[in-house]
């Protein structure tokens, strides 16, 4: 049996080799052949999901909704913290707070549905909705940063991890207007029907990974200290919460 594994395209590119190392470890731990396929964007990953070409996924919270509710995937583990994001501007801009932003705002963002949905919620206190915003889509967070620094955009959306990985020199030229502190939305490891029989084993493996030196090293490479076990109801609740955020 060959298993197809993929991860959310929102992961930082410097972690690509660490995901391959993790995949090698997982194949050995489960004694099965696992092919890791990385997609450049959410659109191509969604097409692969629709074609049934994904058996195991480290999923963005919004994709987890689709996979659990409509494609019979089971959530087994996830990071201990939540997915948070920042709304930022250039330090040279006059904006000090979200409420300083005005209609006609130019927004640079990628196609990450989680970051974009949360970002738009953070703009609501400024009474800004989609009709007030000119969205300038880009492919990478580096391009988002450039667009803001070169005044092609007034603000940018980015995951906290990606913002933190910018150099101090770049961060000095930017100003964070707001950081989300939702704590309730997070990536999840999901297993598809082909691996249902082994879901308990995979949950145990991933949630105990931090207990060994090798496991801690793998986790550190992926930007986590530990993964926790996720009960099915935990992910169902997260999906219910996500469903409210698009209203």
């Amino acid at each position: 049996m060959n298993i197809n594994f993929t991860i959310s395209p929102s992961f930082p590119t410097e972690r690509i080799s660490d995901w391959y190392i993790f995949n090698t470890w997982l194949q050995r731990a489960l004694s099965i052949s696992i092919h890791l396929e990385l997609y450049n964007d959410f659109g191509s990953q969604r097409r692969a999901i629709a074609e049934g070409s994904v058996d195991l996924i480290y999923a963005n919270p919004f994709d987890a909704s689709l996979l659990v509710r409509e494609r019979n995937f089971l959530a087994v583990a996830g990071p201990t913290g939540g997915d948070e994001m920042v709304v930022f501007t250039a330090a040279a801009k006059p904006y000090q707070n979200i409420t300083d932003l005005q209609s006609g705002l130019r927004l640079s963002c990628t196609d990450d549905p989680s970051v974009n949905t949360v970002g738009r919620i953070l703009l609501e206190p400024a009474d800004l909705d989609a009709s007030d915003i000119i969205t300038l889509p880009t492919e990478t967070y580096i391009q988002v940063t450039r667009a803001v620094l070169r005044d092609h955009a007034d603000i940018g959306f980015m995951p906290v991890d990606a913002f933190s990985s910018l150099s101090n020199v770049v961060q000095r030229d930017l100003r964070v207007l707001m950081t989300s502190q939702l704590h309730v939305i997070h990536h999840s490891f999901l297993v598809g029907p082909a691996l249902h029989e082994r879901s308990e084993e995979i949950a145990n493996l991933l949630s105990s990974l931090h207990e060994s030196a090798k496991g801690s090293e793998l986790l550190a490479g992926l930007g986590s200290e530990r993964w926790r076990r996720i009960a099915h109801e935990d992910v169902e609740l997260m999906i219910d919460i996500i469903s409210t955020l698009t209203q």
Binding site: L122, D127, L182, L237, S243, L245
Partner: protein, 157 residues
């Protein structure tokens, strides 16, 4: 539900008696002190199908002014502010009991008699085609929308 205790109140307060749909009443004390919504956060709580609180996140507890143990097991209407028209909650319950989401601007009452505004969305928790409870997710509203809601609720009362 227990009446509010005047000893909980900070500052000068007005007294009201709320009447709920189930016929019960609660005496509450209200001040004009607003607590600002915490930027960047979500307030999340869950109830059973009868509206009894089963859990809430830290923001829910912090903004209410109660301890978590004082909230769990209580009706969600422990946060009902007398400025909110009863019709708004009737519409909320009719909507979510029919399996649909409800959303709107809500003025909530704190334990200390103060208040805070939220934009709330309530979603039925459907499991195996059955509603097993409700989740309420609140986020920071715009002041313009709050002003419009205040005027509308004043007309409805």
């Amino acid at each position: 539900m227990e009446d509010m205790n005047p000893a909980w109140i900070t500052g000068e307060a007005r007294e009201y008696t709320l009447q709920f749909f189930d016929g019960t009443r609660r005496r509450v004390y209200v001040t004009d002190t607003e607590t600002a919504y915490p930027h960047g956060k979500l307030i999340v709580s869950r109830t059973d199908t009868e509206g009894v609180i089963t859990l809430g996140n830290q923001s829910f507890v912090d903004m209410s002014g109660y301890q978590e143990s004082e909230l769990v097991g209580q009706p969600h209407s422990i946060l009902r502010h007398p400025d909110m028209p009863a019709a708004a909650f009737q519409n909320l319950w009719e909507t979510i009991r029919s399996g649909r989401q409800w959303h709107g601007y809500v003025k909530n009452l704190r334990k200390d008699g103060g208040y805070y505004w939220v934009y709330a969305t309530v979603v039925p928790n459907v499991r195996q085609s059955r509603i097993i409870g409700y989740t309420s997710v609140r986020r920071e509203p715009s002041r313009q929308k709050v002003a419009a809601a205040e005027a509308m609720y004043r007309d409805m009362r």
